[in-house]
Amino acid sequence: MRARAASLLLLGAVLAGGPASAIVDPREMLPDPAQEARAREIGRELRCLVCQNQSIDDSNAGLARDLRRIVRERVAAGDTNEQVIAFITERYGDYVRLTPPLKASTIALWASPVVALAAGLFAVAAFYRRRRALVPPPELTEEERARLARLQAE
């Protein structure tokens, strides 16, 4: 059993039992191109739950098709993008969103890029400040250079 799972080195929709690649069926598409574009945009934000790390736009699983149809129904009914995503999230939880919502449990995630960059900038600034303390010896003046040359000649 383990080894069987071990040969599973592959991508997505195949596991769902459907054909391997994603083809959004033209018959699914909305007649209004602006609405269809919005539906595709929303589709790219929703995770296909029976696949691994794919959006419903990229998967040909049955559930993905149903969700795509629902998205288009709601877009045609006049919902905004956020309303459509909220509709799906109500039923499937935050897990279905490919961009995690900003909540108490995800603050650390969203803050991390800013924190990391700030920490890095701070470290670099501290690095340069510490090095400035090691002041290099002042340049020799003309007179001092001449004196050095005379001394070395001796």
């Binding site: 739950l49 049955g62 559930l63 098709r65 149903d66 629902i70 039923r91 499937y92 939880g93 897990y95």
Partner: protein, 190 residues
């Protein structure tokens, strides 16, 4: 320890903390408390979504609506089971469902269809293996399944006496799960 020494020790400390976390994950996976592949139900603690589904054609069983569920649940906790004849794990859990139905637990079935798959073999399946369901709704468009947050079959929900969804099992109800989780829950909700 000076502050400088503390800073140098930070990477090692963070690594050991992370390793501890990963170890907790692995032992959780072995015990079953941590499941990286599972998706929890978003409907736990919420009321049953309202719906109305027609009966399975050529099968002498009435259809299913949310009203039926709430009516039955007011007396004792009930089960709602999403199934399909092409689903192999549904067969695995079938004996457990039959047993539950025989003991008087109302088991309501919803015959699941997704955009790609219909289920013409549903009645033959029931005839061959037995019908544990008090009522069966046929979800031709898959819309009701989406309202319940179903993403595969089988999925089983426990509804308490106030009509609130209390538990969801995604996958077959094995005898172990039946004994260790389902029965105690039904008893506590009775």
């Amino acid at each position: 320890m000076t502050r400088r020494q503390l800073m140098f020790a930070l990477p090692a400390a963070a690594t050991l903390a992370a390793a501890g976390g990963f170890y907790a994950m692995l032992s959780g996976m072995r015990r079953g408390s941590f499941d990286p592949r599972g998706v929890p139900s978003a409907l736990i603690g919420r009321p049953v979504p309202s719906f109305e589904l027609g009966p399975l054609p050529n099968w002498n069983k009435p259809g299913l609506s949310s009203r039926d569920i709430l009516e039955a649940a007011s007396l004792r906790p009930v089960l709602v089971n999403f199934w399909a004849s092409w689903c192999v794990p549904c067969l695995v859990e079938h004996p457990q469902l039959m047993k539950l139905a025989a003991e008087g637990v109302p088991v309501f079935g919803i015959n699941y269809h997704t955009g790609t798959q219909t289920d013409p073999g549903a009645t033959a399946w029931l005839r061959r293996h037995g019908d544990p369901f008090a009522r069966i709704g046929i979800d031709l468009t898959g819309r009701v399944a989406v309202d319940w947050g179903v993403y595969g079959v089988p999925e089983t929900y426990v509804i308490d006496r106030r009509g609130i969804i209390r538990w969801r099992m995604a996958g077959p109800i094995t005898p172990e799960i039946d004994a260790e989780q389902l029965r105690p829950l039904l008893r506590s909700l009775a």
